[in-house]
Symmetry: C2
Subunit: 150 residues, 2 copies
């Protein structure tokens, strides 16, 4: 069964969740979306500092993230809103929504449930360059067949 989603107040988040509409509108006005209406978003595990993944957000994904407090993106492959973990339960509870100096990149500090990567690994950056090529630095923790392919 998919986890319950929605605008449950999250008292541990630094960013107010659910964010009021006026605040969401103000955020959207400050983001420099690219020609495709997208902005890259880095998801970082809030306590370990691990960079979990980089994905893209459109205006609707930013708004949905701030309303629900869970990481939502724009799936470029499926061309639709992607509520991360909606099927698999591998959701990202957003504690802090940050924007960079130029307003063209978002950083989400999150509490990841389960694994962030569709390969079943905790994070997506498991290939690290060594003398003989890329080495895998994270193990598969969950059967990829159970994870919704982004």
């Amino acid at each position: 069964m998919p986890p319950t989603r929605g605008s449950t107040a999250n008292p541990t988040a630094l960013t107010p969740i659910p964010a009021p509409s006026a605040l969401i509108e103000s955020v959207l006005a400050q983001i420099a979306f690219d020609a495709h209406g997208l902005v890259p978003a880095v998801a970082q595990q809030h306590d370990s500092g691990e960079v979990l993944m980089v994905a893209w957000m459109d205006r609707a994904a930013v708004a949905e993230t701030l309303k629900t407090g869970e990481g939502c993106y724009w799936s470029r492959s499926r061309q639709k809103l992607w509520r991360k973990g909606e099927t698999s339960g591998h959701t990202q509870r957003v504690l802090e929504f940050c924007l960079d100096c130029d307003g063209d990149t978002v950083l989400l500090k999150v509490a990841q449930t389960g694994v962030a990567c569709h390969t079943g690994r905790r994070h997506c950056f498991f290939r690290s360059l060594r003398a003989d090529g890329f080495a895998e630095t994270a193990a598969v923790e969950v059967d990829p067949a159970t994870i919704y392919r982004r």
Copy 2:
């Protein structure tokens, strides 16, 4: 005086620096560059886990990074190779070059000298959303006038 750059061997790096040409070619073949020939790159401070910045790399920037062991990018505003810190001395020594599951995002684990942000802050993600809007969470440490605007 700009710092000395070049192919000085870095024994503390996990990624071999300078990387041999064949290894660089193999990396370039595994990166999924976008329609503009670019890939986003996250620079993360290797010990603190701090996400310092997100920038873009083209093939030449990837090759230059792996040859010199210092973070090099493609400046979209200046439309040229951007050897970060070339003028200011705020360089990034690359310890680990990582690639994500889809091959379309790079993660550099670096030792940042000075500040990463052109505003003079340690990192670029100093705007964190709170109830009354974005709060600044990092102080200006260096006079921005001394930093080469990317």
